[in-house]
C-alpha cells in the first residue's frame, strides 16, 4: 500500500506549475507588448534597434526560458550560478566558436548557384551537416569540457538542464545578430516573436543532445557504445536544427513574397513539438532520478 503524499510536496509541485505558467505568460506578454507598441506608435515598417535594445530584446525571452528550463529539474535543482555560467558560455563561447568553425570549414561562397526548391540537396547539406552540426557540436563541447566534469553533474537530468542553458545562451547570440542584421532594421513584433521561438528551438535541440549526454555519462556500457551514442545524439540534434531552419525559411518565403507570421507560427509549432518530445524524455529521467523521493510525483 502506497504512503500518502506529504503536504509540502504537493505545495511545491503547485508552486512549480504556477511559476512555469507565469513564465510562459511572460513570454506571450513580451511578444504581445512588442505588437502593441507597433500598433500604438503606428509602425508600418521595420525599426532600427540600437545594440542595447537588441540585447534586451534577445535577452528577455532567453531569461524567461532559462528560468522555465531551470524549474524542470525539480528533484535536485542545479546551483543557479552554474546554470547561469553555462548560459553565458553558450552566448560568449559556443556561438562565436560555431561561427568560426562554420566560416573556416565551410566558408561562404560568393557566387553560389542554389536550387530554387526549398529542400534542394545543397540547402539540406548546408542546413544540417554544416550549420546544424557545427552549432550543436559547439554547444556540446562547451558543456562537455566544463560542467560535465564537475561533481554537480550527478544525474542524467543534469545533461538536459545544462545543455538547455547553453542552447538558450546560444540563441541570445543568434537573436542579437538577427536583430542587428540587415542594417539593424527589423519588424518589432515578428522580431520579438522570433526571438522567443528561436530560443525555445535552440534550447530544445540542445536539450535533446543533453538527454543523450546525460545517458552516456552514466551508462554502464563500454566506451564505444558511449561514443556511438554521443555521435548519434549530435547528428540527431543537428538534424532537428537543420530541418527547423529549412522549414522556417521555406514557409517564410514562398515564391517571391515574404510571410513572416506564417514562418513564426510554423517555427513555434515545430519548436513546441520538439520541446514536447523532450518533456517526455525529461519525465522519464525525472522518474529514474536518484534524488527522487519515494512516492513523489
Amino acid at each position: 500500500m502506497a504512503a500518502p503524499l506529504p503536504r509540502w510536496s504537493l505545495r511545491r509541485a503547485r508552486l512549480l506549475v504556477g511559476s512555469k505558467l507565469a513564465l510562459v505568460v511572460g513570454l506571450v506578454l513580451f511578444v504581445g507588448l512588442a505588437w502593441l507598441i507597433e500598433q500604438v506608435i503606428g509602425l508600418r515598417g521595420p525599426v532600427r534597434m540600437s545594440p542595447v535594445v537588441a540585447i534586451v530584446v534577445a535577452g528577455v525571452p532567453a531569461s524567461l526560458w532559462l528560468a522555465f528550463f531551470y524549474l524542470q529539474d525539480r528533484y535536485e535543482p542545479e546551483p543557479m550560478h552554474f546554470v547561469f555560467g553555462v548560459f553565458l558560455l553558450g552566448t560568449l563561447v559556443a556561438a562565436p566558436l560555431a561561427d568560426f568553425v562554420i566560416y573556416q570549414l565551410a566558408p561562404p561562397q560568393p557566387l553560389g548557384q542554389f536550387g530554387l526548391g526549398p529542400f534542394a540537396l545543397e540547402r539540406v547539406v548546408h542546413a544540417i551537416a554544416v550549420v546544424g552540426l557545427a552549432q550543436e557540436l559547439c554547444k556540446y563541447v562547451v558543456v562537455r569540457y566544463t560542467i560535465y566534469t564537475s561533481p554537480e553533474f550527478d544525474e542524467p537530468m543534469d545533461g538536459v538542464v545544462y545543455m538547455m542553458s547553453v542552447g538558450t545562451g546560444y540563441a541570445v547570440w543568434l537573436n542579437y545578430h538577427r536583430l542587428q542584421g540587415l542594417g539593424g532594421t527589423i519588424y518589432l513584433s515578428t522580431g520579438a516573436a522570433e526571438a522567443v521561438i528561436t530560443t525555445l528551438a535552440h534550447a530544445s535541440f540542445a536539450g535533446f543532445l543533453g538527454y543523450v549526454l546525460g545517458r552516456a555519462k552514466f551508462t554502464r556500457r563500454g566506451p564505444v557504445s558511449r561514443g556511438v551514442l554521443l555521435f548519434l545524439g549530435l547528428v540527431g540534434a543537428a538534424c532537428l536544427n537543420g530541418v527547423f531552419s529549412l522549414v522556417v525559411d521555406w514557409v517564410m518565403t514562398q515564391g517571391l513574397a515574404s510571410h513572416p507570421w506564417k514562418g513564426v507560427g510554423l517555427a513555434a509549432a515545430l519548436a513546441v513539438a520538439v520541446f514536447a518530445l523532450l518533456i517526455i524524455f525529461v519525465q522519464r529521467l525525472l522518474h529514474d532520478s536518484p534524488f527522487r523521493k519515494e512516492g513523489a510525483r
Partner: protein, 642 residues
C-alpha cells in the same frame, strides 16, 4: 535506476609545482623583518633582474602544463579519448559537408571562344555589352570612330547573373607596338581609372605554355551618377601573341572575382603560341654604391598616342634626371615617330632594381626641347596623369645627375647602363660593360659615340650610362650590329653606342637657366626671337672672354632681363617676354646689344656660351641718368669652363 551508476569522482589533477621564488614567499609570510627585506630587495631589483627572476618560473610552469595535458589525455582523465574521437568525427563531417556544399553550389562552366582566345568560365553571365569608350584624359578627345581591323578591337563586358557587382571584361585588340607589354598595360589602367587607381600585386604566370600577366588592382567608381564613390577591386589577366593583345578583367568583390579567376586562369589559351615570355626578371648584379645611388636618378619614359579613340602606350625608353626641377634628358627618337611627335609622354619613377616603376606625371613632346641632330631631347612634366596642371616640384625631390666635368675615358674602363629594357618585365635593370673606344668621324658631333660592350637594348634608349663613381658619362642611344662571315657561319656582334654627356651641354644650359614647357617651343636655342624693344636708352657693349685664359669667346649670348625678372624667374621659353636687350659675341668676343636699355634702371644680366657655365647676375647692371648713351659697364665678362 536501471543501468546507471553514480560517477566516480574524478581524481584531482597534479598540482603545479611551487614557483622558483616560493621560498621567498614563505619567508614573507612567516617573518615580517624578512618580508620587509625581501620587499625592498624586489623593489630595488632592476628590470633585467626582475625579468630573469620571472623567466626562471617558466620552465617549471611549462612542465606542469605538460603534466596536465598528459593527464587530460590519459586513461584516468574525465576527458575521455572516445569523446575526442566523436568531436573529431563531427568536425570532419562539417568539413566534408562544406566541401560537398561548395561543389553542389559551384556554377556550371562553359567555354568562351572568340577571336583566338579560349577559356573556361562559370556560366553565370548575362549577354555581353560593348564597353563604352572612355575619352582620354591626357589629350583632347578625338571623335574618330575606332579604326577596326577586321573583327578587332573586341571589347565587351559581361555582368554576372548571380551578383550584378561581378563583371568580366574581355578585350582583344591588335598587339601594342611597344614590346614592354607590362608597362603598357599599367599605363592603360592608370589612364583609364585615374588618380585613385592603385596596383596591388602583379606577376607573370604560365598557362598553356604561354605567359600571362596577372594584376590585382583597386580603383574608385560611382555606381550611378551622384552616388558616393566606392572602391572597386579587379583582377586582370593579359597576354600577347604574335598578333593580338588579350585581356580578361574581372571586377567585383575580392572573394567573388578570386573564385571566377580560379576557374578561368588554368584554362586560358590563345590561338598562336609565340613562346615569347612577357618578361624575365632583371638580373641581380653587385653594384658599386655610387651606381646604386644613380638608380634613383633614372626614370622610365612612356610615349603614347591615340589609337582607335583610346590613348595607348606605343613606345618607351629611359630618361636621365638632370635637373632638380624634374628636367629629364632622353633620346629624341623616343619622342618622335617619323618626324611627328607622339601625343604625350609619361614619366615613371624607379622603385628599385627589379621593380616596375610608378607612373607619376606626363607632358607633351611638342612642349619639350628637341634636338634631332644629336638624337637628344629635354623633357619635363607639366600635367598629372589626369591631364591637370602639375609641377614636378610638387612631387618628392628629383635627385639629379650633375654634368660630368672631366672628359677622359679610358679604353676598358667599366661602365654601367641603367634603364628599363623591354625584356625585363618593365623593371629597372642594370648592365655592366667596358669602354671599347669611340665611334664617329672627327668634326661630326652627331656621329660621335662611346662604344661599349654593356648590353643596350630596346628600352634603354635615353638612360644614363655611369662609371664606377656614379658620374654621368653619357646617354645610351643606339646599338650597332656587325655581321661577319666565319667560314659557313654568320656571326653578329652588337656594340652599344653611348652619346657622350658633353654633347648635351646646351640642354644642361637650358636646365641651369630655367625653363617651363610651352607649346611650340621645341628649339634648344636660347636666343630671343622677337622681343619688344624700347625706343630710347643706353646702347651697351662689352667683351666676353674665358676666365681660364682670357681668350675671347665667340658666339656667347648676353641678355639683359626686364626689371623685376630675377635669376629664379628666368624661363628660356619666355625670353621674348623677359629679355629687354640681347646680343651675340663675334670672333673677337665683342658683343653689341641690339636694343637700347632704358636708363635709369637696375637689371639682371644673363650670359651663356657653349662649354661654359651660364652666368646669371641679379642686379648686375645699374644705369642712371648720367650713364653715357654708348657704354661698356663691365669692360669684359669672364665665363668659367663648364
Amino acid at each position: 535506476m536501471t543501468d546507471e551508476r553514480d560517477p566516480p569522482p574524478p581524481p584531482a589533477p597534479p598540482s603545479a609545482p611551487a614557483p622558483a621564488d616560493a621560498a621567498s614567499s614563505g619567508a614573507l609570510a612567516g617573518d615580517d623583518a624578512g618580508a620587509s627585506t625581501s620587499m625592498s630587495a624586489i623593489e630595488d631589483e632592476s628590470l633585467a633582474e626582475r625579468a630573469w627572476r620571472r623567466a626562471q618560473t617558466i620552465g617549471p610552469a611549462m612542465a606542469d602544463v605538460t603534466r596536465q595535458v598528459a593527464y587530460a589525455l590519459g586513461p584516468a582523465s574525465p576527458y575521455h579519448r572516445h569523446d575526442f574521437i566523436v568531436i573529431a568525427l563531427a568536425l570532419a563531417m562539417v568539413a566534408g559537408a562544406g566541401v560537398a556544399h561548395r561543389r553542389l553550389i559551384a556554377p556550371t562552366v562553359e567555354t568562351f571562344q572568340s577571336r583566338g582566345l579560349t577559356f573556361t568560365r562559370p556560366a553565370i553571365w548575362l549577354a555581353p555589352e560593348e564597353v563604352p569608350r572612355v575619352a582620354p584624359r591626357l589629350v583632347p578627345a578625338p571623335s574618330a570612330r575606332p579604326r577596326g581591323d577586321g573583327d578587332l578591337p573586341y571589347h565587351v563586358v559581361y555582368t554576372s547573373s548571380l551578383d550584378p557587382d561581378v563583371r568580366m571584361e574581355v578585350r582583344i585588340e591588335a598587339k601594342p607596338p611597344w614590346s614592354n607589354v607590362i608597362t603598357s598595360l599599367e599605363f592603360d589602367r592608370r589612364t583609364r581609372w585615374g588618380e585613385l587607381y592603385a596596383a596591388d600585386r602583379s606577376g607573370v604566370r604560365t598557362h598553356g605554355r604561354h605567359s600571362w600577366l596577372r594584376t590585382s588592382f583597386r580603383y574608385t567608381f560611382a555606381p550611378n551618377k551622384g552616388d558616393e564613390p566606392r572602391v572597386g577591386h579587379a583582377i586582370e589577366l593579359a597576354t600577347v601573341d604574335s598578333e593580338r593583345l588579350y585581356a580578361v578583367t574581372l571586377y567585383g568583390p575580392p572573394r567573388a572575382i578570386a573564385q571566377v579567376a580560379a576557374t578561368i586562369e588554368p584554362s586560358l589559351r590563345v590561338a598562336s603560341l609565340t613562346g615569347k615570355p612577357l618578361g624575365a626578371p632583371a638580373e641581380r648584379l653587385q653594384l658599386p654604391e655610387p651606381v646604386r645611388v644613380a638608380l634613383t636618378r633614372t626614370v622610365e619614359v612612356v610615349v603614347a598616342d591615340v589609337v582607335d579613340g583610346q590613348l595607348r602606350a606605343v613606345g618607351g625608353g629611359t630618361g636621365t634626371v638632370i635637373g632638380p626641377d624634374g628636367s629629364v634628358l632622353t633620346n629624341h627618337h623616343l619622342l618622335v615617330d617619323k618626324q611627328r611627335p607622339h601625343a604625350v609622354f609619361a614619366i615613371a619613377r624607379a622603385r628599385g632594381v627589379g621593380q616596375v616603376p610608378a607612373l607619376v606625371c606626363a607632358g607633351s613632346p611638342s612642349r619639350s626641347k628637341l634636338w634631332p641632330e644629336m638624337d637628344l631631347a629635354l623633357i619635363k612634366c607639366d600635367v598629372d596623369l589626369d591631364g591637370r596642371p602639375w609641377s614636378p616640384t610638387q612631387a618628392a625631390a628629383w635627385p639629379a645627375f650633375d654634368r660630368r666635368t672631366e672628359t677622359g675615358l679610358d679604353r676598358g674602363q667599366r661602365l654601367w647602363v641603367l634603364g628599363f629594357p623591354d625584356v625585363t618585365a618593365g623593371a629597372l635593370a642594370v648592365s655592366g660593360g667596358a669602354v671599347r673606344g669611340l665611334a664617329g668621324e672627327p668634326g661630326s658631333p652627331s656621329d660621335n659615340y662611346i662604344k661599349t660592350d654593356a648590353v643596350i637594348t630596346l628600352g634603354n634608349s635615353g638612360g644614363p650610362v655611369v662609371d664606377d663613381t656614379g658620374a654621368l658619362v653619357g646617354v645610351a642611344s643606339a646599338v650597332r650590329v656587325t655581321t661577319t662571315v666565319a667560314g659557313t657561319q654568320l656571326q653578329s656582334t652588337t656594340t652599344g653606342l653611348v652619346r657622350p654627356i658633353l654633347a648635351a651641354a646646351p640642354l644642361f644650359a637650358i636646365v641651369r637657366a630655367g625653363w617651363t614647357p610651352r607649346d611650340g617651343h621645341t628649339s634648344i636655342d636660347l636666343e630671343p626671337t622677337a622681343i619688344e624693344a624700347e625706343a630710347e636708352g643706353v646702347r651697351l657693349s662689352t667683351h666676353i672672354v674665358a676666365h681660364a685664359n682670357g681668350q675671347p669667346i665667340p658666339g656667347a649670348l648676353l641678355m639683359i632681363l626686364r626689371p623685376g625678372v630675377d635669376a629664379g624667374d628666368v624661363d628660356i621659353n619666355r625670353l621674348d617676354d623677359q629679355v629687354i636687350s640681347w646680343g651675340r659675341s663675334g670672333t673677337d668676343g665683342a658683343v653689341y646689344l641690339k636694343q637700347p636699355v632704358p636708363a635709369p634702371g637696375t637689371y639682371t644680366v644673363m650670359v651663356t656660351a657653349d662649354g661654359f657655365s651660364p652666368l646669371i647676375g641679379d642686379g648686375a647692371l645699374t644705369l642712371d641718368a648720367k650713364t653715357p648713351p654708348y657704354f661698356d659697364p663691365w669692360g669684359e665678362v669672364r665665363l668659367g669652363a663648364d
